[in-house]
Point group: D2
Chain length 259, copies 4
């Protein structure tokens, strides 16, 4: 009924092939990748299975660079710093911060790409209908636009869009999703009669959509990017010391509002 | 007794400074970093607080590239793939894999750097005494050398060492730690009368030591590097499907050896 | 604009009230709970905010006891055992296993309760329509029934149902959800012309529904229950030793099926 | 070279034996445990492999009950509440909180048991020497005594000690470790000329030592206990709503103290 092949077949992968003394990643000998492939290119190769080059690499690096940190008030960063004071290893502190990410924290990029694709399929004349349908299904919130903190504008978004424009002019990407993102921004601003600018999730979603990433990978790439901030903050906190550091100074505690 | 300053002071950081519409990372406006700084350079800037350039960047990228994956039998990778079949988000699956890393899995690099520093301080004539002292304190195992799988040699290690040699010739690093690493390899091989080659932990430790990283950061950088493999494998597994995928095929179960 | 009250108000809870030398949990001094309240009763008090007593406590304990372990092939248990060989603390190994739980692994209980409530509202004559509507929305799979491994029957399910019957006869619960569960079992078995018995998720869901728990808490209570097995297995594995223990023996590795 | 037995042997356990339709936990059919074994007794059976009964069960339950919660300023509880606002599942939020526990947060109990055993072996006349030796090796901090918040006394500790006294009078435990704990308290108070009362870690460590638990299990049992609070708080927070809830109100942010 069973044989050893069953076991070897239990885990299957196109990513890595290995024998003693031999490691191939996506079909390439690891020693050929080392020294010839940048870290961002390696991320792309491992996750997407293809090579990324030139202006497209630059766009991908820009997206990864842009989301590394949003300070100790971001739940992910706060968790990593707290963990660093609880007597766990540096990698565990990083994992605790990474585990904060989900539908709400770090999830808007995936949703924005999904929305962009709907808008793309509907064409310019269908934008209003696309937004209406999105709201009917998902609620009032349009992912990737508006920011509760960075008013009037998140400095990262226009910079990222500018890079997409450059890459489109160079023919490296189509620019179609930058156009869609801007059209949504214009539409929302008109509707609410105040600026509703694209935020970091909306802008990185433009890049990932331009590069042809499936929507869920926006979360994965955000996770890789934010892990950099998690490491930086966990490491800094370890240097500062502190034991069992809670969210607020001890004298504040919390409000008991029970019976 | 308390005032609002206490709260603002509770979390302190040199990494990020932020106001609405303004994000400075390590003193640099984020929009100036985006598009001008590679992802590996950004990692260095965020964690170390300084800029890395030229051949030193290339070395750092090589170390990051080399440790991304060791296949579905590595506990980290296996955990991320399993998690991907349990109905959690992509980032949670990554976090589960990252949380596997500790003193044993992904911890040897930190120990190797610590050993290299001891060997560096002792000088060439003190190497045997350094190894003896290490074993007296930590046990028989010399971190960073030998591999239970890659025999005779891990293909990543000589490639990484070669890049250090290149960088040393170019004056980008001293080369002192590559020399120490090789001296340990020679010593261990002579002792055991069979090859005890430097492994990936020993080789990346050489690079991190050459670049001046504190030893614990070897774990942090390994965590960032391995997270790439975690994302790639979790994503691939999601595409393959599977529900509640355990470590071995169901028919094998396990051995009960209780009374 | 801000004052210290804002900070104290940031975290609000009905669960715990605390001053130096005083800890009240759900309005009760902790020293009065200690020694008078069993651990299962304490779980109920903390999570539900009410007291549980007598036959209802026994039912709750039965549900908690029943789900502690399903062996090293369960992804949660496997992850905890692997983590125990990677050089992390006992609590981190538990957390790694707990983090495996999600929509698929440990999530069926929540779905089963939701289904039971729909069936309850529809009444006996509406059962078929309820199942049809469920499948139309969620797919073919009816949560809480059938088991890929325990054929013909999961020994835990009938035992748990029997305890619900006892409690219903004693007037501690209504028994309505046990009836619904059995009606679904009968229906599915008739449809498929082979036994489709209630499984552990379906049976614990009956208990939680009888006790009046909101559906999502089936996941929370499953998490508490399974954590017992996670601790037992992580601790046993630490005693067995092992370093970087992967899912299968090293000689099996995995199948590379890339180009 | 390999055969299917190798695979079945890869995972070995004394905890669980399973065939289709049969689950034995620690050698007992699960259906016999359900309904006859309390949840705390089940924890003991699974982890320790033996049965716990009567007054010893009551002591164990008291220890488990005492540590469930210390409010939203405890890093574990704070992390679970934050996670609950980030769009992850209830079990992931619990895991994030559990992953906070380590050498510092939830680790003192293990250290206290180790100290008690040293003091036990040294006898009453050796107490001062034991404390001196502990400090020489571990630093000034004596685990299990003193509290930065609960002054003059943690209400849980004397209550737990009183229960140990009752159990000792009933012959269920020896009382030796309660005596040692109190002797350390007396000694520390005399040294510092102010009260240094036993805290929750010291008191639960007395119970675990009386019950014969290995020191590291103090962490494991603390993890199980605190998981109750993690579930309660994560669930409450989900009910309160909130998105991406950071540690402090947004207007406070943090202090940038870089160059």
């Amino acid at each position: 009924m069973t044989n050893s092949t069953d076991v070897a077949d239990w885990w299957r992968t196109e990513i890595i092939d290995m024998e003693p003394g031999r490691i191939h990643l996506r079909g390439r000998p690891v020693q050929d990748l080392i020294g010839h492939t940048g870290f961002a290119q390696m991320i792309w190769l491992m996750v997407m299975g293809t090579e990324i080059t030139g202006d497209r690499t630059a766009l991908f690096e820009a997206a990864l660079v842009s989301a590394v940190d949003h300070g100790p008030q971001a739940p992910s960063i706060a968790a990593a710093r707290m963990a660093a004071t609880c007597g766990v290893g540096l990698q565990s502190a990083m994992a605790t911060g990474l585990n904060m990410l989900g539908d709400v924290h770090g999830g808007a990029g995936e949703q924005a790409i999904a929305l962009y694709h709907l808008a793309h399929d509907a064409g310019p004349d269908g934008l209003q209908a696309t937004l209406d349908a999105w709201r009917a299904q998902h609620g009032r919130f349009i992912p990737g636009f508006g920011h509760r903190f960075h008013k009037p504008v998140d400095p990262r978004a226009p910079r990222l869009l500018g890079l997409v424009d450059d890459a489109a002019r160079a023919g490296a990407v189509s620019g179609a999703f930058a156009q869609i993102g801007r059209a949504i921004e214009t539409q929302l601003t008109a509707e609410r009669k105040k600026p509703v600018p694209m935020n970091i999730d909306g802008a990185t979603a433009v890049i990932y959509a331009e590069l042809g990433c499936p929507a869920p990978l926006a979360r994965g790439f955000f996770g890789l990017s934010r892990s950099v901030g998690l490491l930086a903050h966990a490491w800094e906190q370890m240097g500062q010391g502190g034991r069992n550091k809670g969210p607020t100074p001890p004298q504040y505690r919390w409000t008991y509002d029970g019976p």
